[in-house]
């Protein structure tokens, strides 16, 4: 039971999108790392206000695409040139032209897989348990509540100081969430 009462962090609610947005900028400027914003709709410019770098998903997409292209090329080379050479319509056993649709389609297919997988990995999904859902107030985020949560594992986290910081930047309904 002692473990269950360990604090996950603090959540604070904000009245409107503007104060929510500017509060996020202040949390970023205060140097917190392990925190996030929660709203039921996208807020334009929020990634910048949170100081988030560009998404890493394109790298997964690119790697997926390159893998697909290479697999497509090797597959056709292996089947039509190496394993079972077959003359089709007087075309060479291997050429980059006739199997291009295969190389191309596999590039697209594996790029899409890479994108999907990259999205899951960078978003830390699937996540079956998130302590934030222990809070009844946090559940209202799916309605009209705007929440900033600072986690206790942040090196700068201090139960008292962080609470007063959240008050200072305009947070209301500040609540500690159990892990």
């Amino acid at each position: 039971m002692a473990e269950a009462e360990q604090s996950y962090g603090l959540i604070a609610s904000f009245k409107n999108t503007a104060s929510f947005f500017h509060a996020a900028e202040k949390v970023r400027d205060a140097g917190y790392k392990k925190w996030d914003t929660y709203s039921s709709f996208p807020v334009h410019g929020m990634p910048e206000a949170q100081g988030q770098p560009r998404s890493k998903v394109p790298i997964f997409t690119f790697c997926g695409g390159i893998t697909g292209f290479i697999i497509g090329t090797l597959m056709v080379w292996y089947m039509n040139y190496f394993d079972y050479p077959l003359i089709v319509g007087g075309k060479p056993f291997f050429s980059p032209i006739f199997p291009f649709p295969i190389m191309y389609e596999l590039t697209i297919l594996l790029s899409a897989f890479g994108t999907l997988g990259g999205m899951f990995i960078t978003n830390l999904l699937p996540q079956h348990y998130n302590p934030l859902f222990n809070s009844a107030k946090f559940l209202e985020v799916s309605g009209d509540r705007l929440v900033i949560a600072i986690e206790s594992r942040d090196p700068q986290y201090d139960p008292q100081a962080t609470r007063s910081f959240l008050e200072e930047i305009g947070g209301t309904d500040i609540e500690e969430v159990n892990a």
Binding site: H44, G45, R54, P58, F62, G89, G90, I97, F98, F100, P101
Partner: protein, 424 residues
Amino acid sequence: MSTDANNASLNRFGSIALIVGLVGLAIAGLGFFQGYNSGDVRPLMSWLMGIAFWLSIAVGMLFLTQIWYVFHARWPVIIRRQCEHSFAAFPVLFILFLPLLLVTFSGDQAGLLWKWLDSSNQLASHGTVGDDPLYQWKSPYLNHSFFIIRSVLVFAVFIGISYALRKLSFDTDKTGNINNTHIARRLSSAGLFLCAVFATVGAIDWFKSLEYHWFSTMYGVWFFAASMRAALSALIILCIVLATRGYLKGILKQAHRYDIGCLMLTFTIFWAYISFSQYFLIYNANIPEETFWYIIREKNFNGELNSWWWVSMGLIFGHFLTPFLILLWYKTKVVVWRSVAIAGWILCFHLLDLYWNIVPGKLADPDAHGAGYLVRQFSVNIFDIAAVIGVGGVCIWAFCNSTKKAEAIPVRDPNIENSLNYVE
């Protein structure tokens, strides 16, 4: 910067462009005249390429504007106005196209550029155009009077639709009448079909029929794809120049540039897809009436690789692979100098693509006695450069001249606020 100072600097720039353009046209025109007198087709091709280059940009912008209207796009409203100013180039291009049409009325040189216009023209193999069964089959479409009607009709459609859209948008500046937007949207829905049909007709008549033996069902789409790439590249350069010169300063944002960059990437892939598919279908079907078009772009009659092979490789790697890989980068689309550099690169290779489509042709080989042919090889001459610069100068003058007639951005467009506050 005040609007007056902006107008003055654009006016000055327009005058310089006009002078440069007229000088270029004079040089290209001299080549045209000499070519006409001596029966040399190459300077006429230079003239055609000069027009094709700038026409493709204007056509692409016309497509873009209509697509934006149809999809009720809110972000590009400030960019749409630059397209509307560019539409002023259409009448200029039509006037510059007339000499090519006039040549077809001359008695002895009617078939100088488009060989099939003169039935007594000798084919590269044997016989004349008039005896050619392929021409006889195609003659209900490929004949002089229908060709002239189609050429005029193509320009009539482009000028008509673009000027109607221009007028509606400029009128909104003054009256704020919301109906203008509704009418423009309805016009664009019909206009997209009309422009698709007539851009195809134009591409087939002016470029594809240079080798009238050939068949391809994808040629119109190729012209559309190439036009969109050229238009987007020209548009990003245009907008950035206008932004740094003060005209769109603080209005053109990173988000606008980023989205144009994304469209450039899309149409780079689309152009490659279409160009490759055209090649792929003909390669797989392996029918001589079709394959010869690619064969002369690869090798001579004796089987040796010719200059076009290098141009073809240049197009694959320079017009597709390089811009594709570079445009994948986020930074390419948001760092100003990088977007301008890649847009300039694409425009250069777009011109090379036009060379590749227009210039190669089968020529009769005097020593072969009907058993071979020569291929008109790749070359860049002073008339090509003069024609591209000449037509461009006059088009840029038309653009600068048009900026006097309306605000820099559509100030009373219903979506202007969305466009001004656009974020990624």
